[in-house]
């Protein structure tokens, strides 16, 4: 028997004033507000006792922004222009309300589990989740991104009764790798951060045997102190395994890795400012093979139905896993039974540690023996650490000393809600101003080589994007397997065991923080639009798409930041309703701001990543974005407006202002996507590519150099706002909902029959044709030749940027 630990003793808070409590909180990295401290004080006062350290730690973790999403679920006084209104619960009123209003029978689990779940055929389901691991990746890029992957993979493993991961996605927002300015002490250079996070994703994902085949990169110097690392995972599970339950009397079984001192205070730390004094123990240490063992054993046990419920140990470790599973009944835990990495852990450390690769199961006692055998066969450790009860209490002991004895109700419902203020001021005049003037050809060359659109091959090749043998549309496409695909298509036969069914799915993304700088509302709609048109381009069904939201924002304590966040959430609401695409899961990461080298706050630009998933009914009919032959017709779907605000064109010119791209009618956009989907399913489309950063010119250039055929475009044929007379707008505007499509001459009339002709239908027009000569040739409104660029040169400019900076 070990000596009684200090932390089972009282942790005196009762007589203390707010200042003293704040100091106590800062010392222990608790991130509790004054209001939360006083709720804890009042609770223990009514119990007539002091709390223990482990109890305060448990409350701080459970009530953290990371676990409870306080900003999204607490009241906000929102002032927009001269009007002020009270939002009681932003999450419920935007994301959830919109999802409920679109009512899709194929949504099997929304917001309640570790991931969202949608039906995939009659027997199977897809679990999808994306998370961020920003603060740890800023501190230790390699370990941060590694455990980011490990964490989201466990979310999917712990979704329902366990899903088999079949796809990983990774999106990074970082400072430019050639950043030459000053950095505060302790901050990594953006190039080092980027190399580290890529290596982390590579080493963890590849070792786990999960293809990494989707994602993105965005460069902006305002991410230099707070890089963003988004990790997503899709899992396949049988529909019978979607629901889970815990019954009193079930054993609490911990499986997988041992518990150590790594990853203490991860949840509370994620709400703190990053600084030179940030605790390094907050970053966990990843071990991919350990997680692979857990995966293999868990799914074998699932199929033998040996447990009733499962969740992963993420932020807060055992405290949150057991706390969540036992929330409705109660739980009793004996910490001395948990396998440890080192013997000298304090009780609160065992209870709160975020050591990786651990999961907690609820196991009927009669199944324990069989479960032990399954895990032993995979050399995966297993320990019974307690049982679920019907007491409604969370009771934790360590060598018979009580370290936690909390009311589940207080733990989960006792969090006091603080009201915050939010302000949104609509931007005034949006006339473009400043910047250089460039010839169209020079602007195009600069644009193709810009960091935010250039080739990602250097990164993608380091990920095993074909393991499991299901990546039938790959991230790199075209004759030389190096063009920028819109999305991957996965045919998950390794998970389903069914090689006869050609059904697969696709995952795509939308993100553009530049638009958010102008108006986060339109950014949100543009992000959803981009994700959906990417899906459509490869052959996925846009009418069956489900979305994930991942918000990364600066401090919500700044009313302007919070106002922008409200605006983005309202954009998500209107996107879900407008496209009929429900949000099935999401996550937010706030407080992404740090003191720069001059001691000034550097907030990240408000960032929203929308991830979309949809079934591809027949993967043998999927489409890639490379031109397939000469003499084919090029059709443009969607209308071009004068929308250069936040565009890549303005970026390379150094020009400010301009109209932010707007999806004024998601219904019309969706109509265009659905028409294209029908045409793809009939085999009438040779290639399709969405117009995003860089507009029409860039999309056509990419399709050309990837397929090694040229094209001729006539700008006068563009469906457009008739008030546009300038060529740069027609070439580079980033109006959403547009897709460029290649159709064989013999298929043109059949193709056009899929498009409506009503006022609310998406416009579609023939705007040019492909040709054998490998050049991008564009004719202007007056019939003059505006561009005649060899594709080879454009491709070289597009390819050299990233390797040049990272090798």
């Amino acid at each position: 028997m070990s000596a009684p630990t200090a932390d089972a003793a009282e942790f005196a808070i009762l007589g203390k004033d707010a200042k003293a409590l704040r100091a106590l909180g800062a010392e222990r990295h608790l991130s509790l507000s004054d209001l939360e401290w006083s709720a804890i004080q009042a609770h223990f006062k009514s119990l007539r006792r002091e709390p223990t350290l482990a109890e305060v730690e448990t409350l701080a973790q459970t009530w953290s922004e990371h676990c409870k999403h306080k900003t999204f679920t607490s009241p906000i006084r929102f002032t927009e222009g001269r009007k002020t209104r009270l939002i009681k619960n932003l999450f419920a009123e935007t994301i959830v309300a919109a999802t409920e209003s679109v009512k899709k029978s194929w949504c099997l689990s929304l917001f309640e589990d570790n991931a969202g779940v949608v039906a995939f055929g009659k027997k199977w389901a897809l679990a999808f989740k994306a998370e961020t691991h920003n603060h740890p990746s800023a501190l230790e890029p390699y370990g941060g991104s590694e455990t980011g992957v490990g964490g989201v993979v466990r979310d999917v493993l712990g979704c329902g009764l366990g899903a088999k991961p079949v796809l990983n996605t990774d999106t990074f927002c970082v400072g430019r790798p050639d950043y030459a300015g000053a950095l505060p002490e302790g901050a990594h250079h953006p190039a080092r951060t980027l190399r580290g996070v890529i290596a982390g994703v590579r080493d963890y994902g590849n070792r786990m045997g999960i293809p990494t085949a989707g994602g993105g990169l965005w460069f902006d110097d305002d991410y230099r102190l707070n890089p963003l690392v988004f990790c997503g995972t899709v899992g396949v599970l049988p529909q019978w395994a979607v629901k889970k339950e815990v019954k009193p009397g079930d054993l609490i079984v911990a499986v997988g890795g041992r518990t150590g001192r790594d990853g203490l205070h991860g949840a509370t730390f994620s709400s703190a400012d990053l600084g030179a004094d940030a605790p390094s123990s907050a970053v966990q240490i990843g071990h991919a093979i350990q997680e692979k063992r857990v995966l293999d054993a868990l799914l074998a046990a699932r199929d033998r139905r040996l447990y009733r419920s499962v969740t992963d140990c993420g932020a807060g470790g055992f405290s949150s896993a057991v706390g969540e599973l036992g929330a409705k009944c109660g739980a009793r835990v004996r910490l001395e039974d948990a396998p440890l990495k080192v013997a000298d852990l304090d009780s609160w450390e065992i209870w709160l540690s975020e050591s990786q690769e651990r999961m907690v199961l609820a196991v009927p006692p009669k199944n324990l023996k069989a479960l032990q055998a399954v895990f032993a066969a995979e050399h995966c450790e297993l320990a019974v650490i307690g049982e679920f009860t019907r007491t409604g209490r969370l009771l934790v002991t360590h060598h018979e000393r009580t370290v936690v004895d909390l009311d589940m109700k207080f733990l989960h419902k006792g969090l006091p809600r603080a009201q915050r203020d939010a302000v949104w001021q609509a931007p005034g005049s949006s006339k473009p101003s400043g910047g250089a003037t460039l010839k169209l050809a020079d602007a195009l060359k600069k644009m193709v080589g810009h960091l935010n659109v250039c080739s990602r091959e250097w990164v993608i090749r380091q990920y095993d994007h074909e393991v499991q043998g299901g990546t039938v549309i790959k991230p790199l496409q075209g004759v030389r397997h190096d063009g920028p695909g819109d999305a991957c298509v996965i045919w998950p036969h390794a998970a389903t065991g069914d090689m006869k069914d050609p059904m697969g799915f696709s995952v795509a993304h939308g993100m553009n923080p530049e638009y958010g700088r102008l108006d986060p509302y339109w950014m949100a709609l543009a992000c959803a639009d981009e994700a959906l048109r990417n899906l459509t381009c490869v052959g996925a069904d846009p009418g069956r798409a489900a979305l994930l939201d991942n918000f990364c924002w600066a401090s919500p304590e700044d009313p302007r930041q919070l106002g922008a966040l409200v605006r983005a959430a309202e954009g998500c609401r209107d996107a879900a309703k407008g496209y009929g695409a429900p949000f099935i899961s999401g996550k937010d990461s706030l407080f992404n701001q740090s003191k720069d080298e001059k001691g000034k706050d550097l907030p990240i630009p408000g960032t929203l990543l929308v991830s979309a998933i949809a079934p591809v009914p027949d993967t043998t009919k999927a489409v890639t974005m490379d031109f397939k032959g000469p003499g084919n017709a090029l059709y443009l779907i969607g209308r071009t407006n004068d929308e250069l605000g936040g565009s890549l064109y303005h970026k390379v010119l150094g020009r400010a202002g301009g109209e932010v791209p707007k999806v004024t009618s998601p219904a019309t956009a969706l109509d265009g996507f659905k028409s294209l989907h029908a045409a793809i399913n009939r085999g009438l489309v040779q290639s399709a590519h969405d117009l995003s950063e860089g507009g029409l010119a860039l999309a056509a250039a990419e399709m050309g150099f990837t397929g090694e055929f040229g094209c001729l475009l006539d700008l006068d044929e563009l469906p457009r706002d008739p008030r546009i007379y300038t060529h740069d707008v027609l070439l580079f505007s980033e109006s959403p909902s547009r897709i460029l499509v290649e159709v064989r001459p013999e298929d043109e009339s059949a193709f056009l029959r899929h498009f409506g002709k009503g006022a609310k239908s998406a416009p579609v027009r023939r705007v040019g044709s492909t040709m054998a000569n490998p050049i991008l040739k564009v004719v202007g409104l007056d019939g003059s030749v505006l561009l005649e660029e060899p594709l080879k040169e454009l491709k070289e400019a597009w390819q050299k940027t990233l390797p040049g900076m990272l090798e």
Binding site: N206, K292, D464, E466, G469, G470, I473, Q477, G478
Partner: protein, 257 residues
């Protein structure tokens, strides 16, 4: 006709076993995933199977060296492997499985099961996934290649795939015994450096067989080309190609019948 039993070997960190098993299933085999510990405990016996496949992955995380730990287990647990090979039963090691066969002394063949070759990190210093052009050795008696064209394409995905030999003499031996089963080449069949040779392997070696031709180890992944739409250019009509990976599995199954 009875489906031959295929042993698909597993260990912690193996990760291509399901698609490898599916490939065998597709051509009429009866694959079974068997953990190395089941062979060690005697619960399963190698000699009960007609084909052995060691799939790709990162067995034991490739700690100490790619495939090293599993290779030692194979040496000490699968003591009947040499007899299995002598009986002419097909053995295929893919990627990590090839690394295991080499480090266990099964390939290149030597009478005493000495290890005469090994793998080191790619010349590029990075893990890389890409499709490569390969030339099969038409003089090799490798049973997996029956009926295949001389030039094929398959994907590679590895960080530690550069084959090295103990001495130049061993390269001569390999040539003499027609054990160089396949080589990385350009589209028109020439031996060239990176990226055509993705890792810097000596003499562009992508795979080895034993002189009898029933054991094949290769870095590329045939189980990732078992359907027409696995090829990266299947959406281009002119590039539509038969799934050659599948034929390797078919040859093994046919042989084992």
């Amino acid at each position: 006709m009875k489906a031959p039993k295929i042993l698909v070997l597993r260990a912690a960190g193996t990760n291509c076993e399901l698609e490898t098993a599916n490939a065998f299933k597709l051509v009429g085999g009866a694959p079974e995933l068997v953990h190395i510990s089941e062979l060690k405990s005697g619960k399963k016996r190698l000699m009960d199977f007609g084909v052995l496949a060691i799939p790709g992955g990162f067995s034991y995380g490739d700690d100490v060296g790619a495939g090293r730990v599993l290779a030692n287990q194979v040496r000490h647990t699968l003591t009947d492997l040499r007899q299995f090979v002598r009986l002419g039963r097909p053995v295929i090691g893919i990627c990590n499985g090839f690394q295991v066969l080499v480090k266990a002394g099964i390939l290149p063949h030597s009478n005493a099961c000495d290890q005469n070759a090994s793998f080191t990190f790619n010349d590029s210093g990075k893990f890389e996934a890409r499709w490569v052009h390969l030339r099969l050795n038409t003089q090799s008696s490798c049973l997996f290649f029956k009926g295949l064209p001389e030039m094929i394409e398959l994907p590679v995905a590895h960080g530690e795939g550069k084959l090295v030999l103990k001495s130049p003499r061993h390269l001569e031996d390999l040539k003499k015994t027609k054990s160089i089963a396949l080589q990385y080449v350009t589209e028109d069949g020439k031996l060239m450096g990176y990226p055509h040779n993705p890792n810097g392997s000596i003499f562009n070696i992508a795979g080895l067989s034993n002189p009898e031709g029933n054991v094949l180890g290769l870095m590329p992944h045939p189980e990732r080309f078992i359907a027409v739409n696995h090829h990266p250019n299947w959406t281009r009509q002119t590039y539509r190609k038969a799934a050659v990976g599948l034929e390797m599995f078919r040859n093994a199954v046919v042989h084992a019948r």
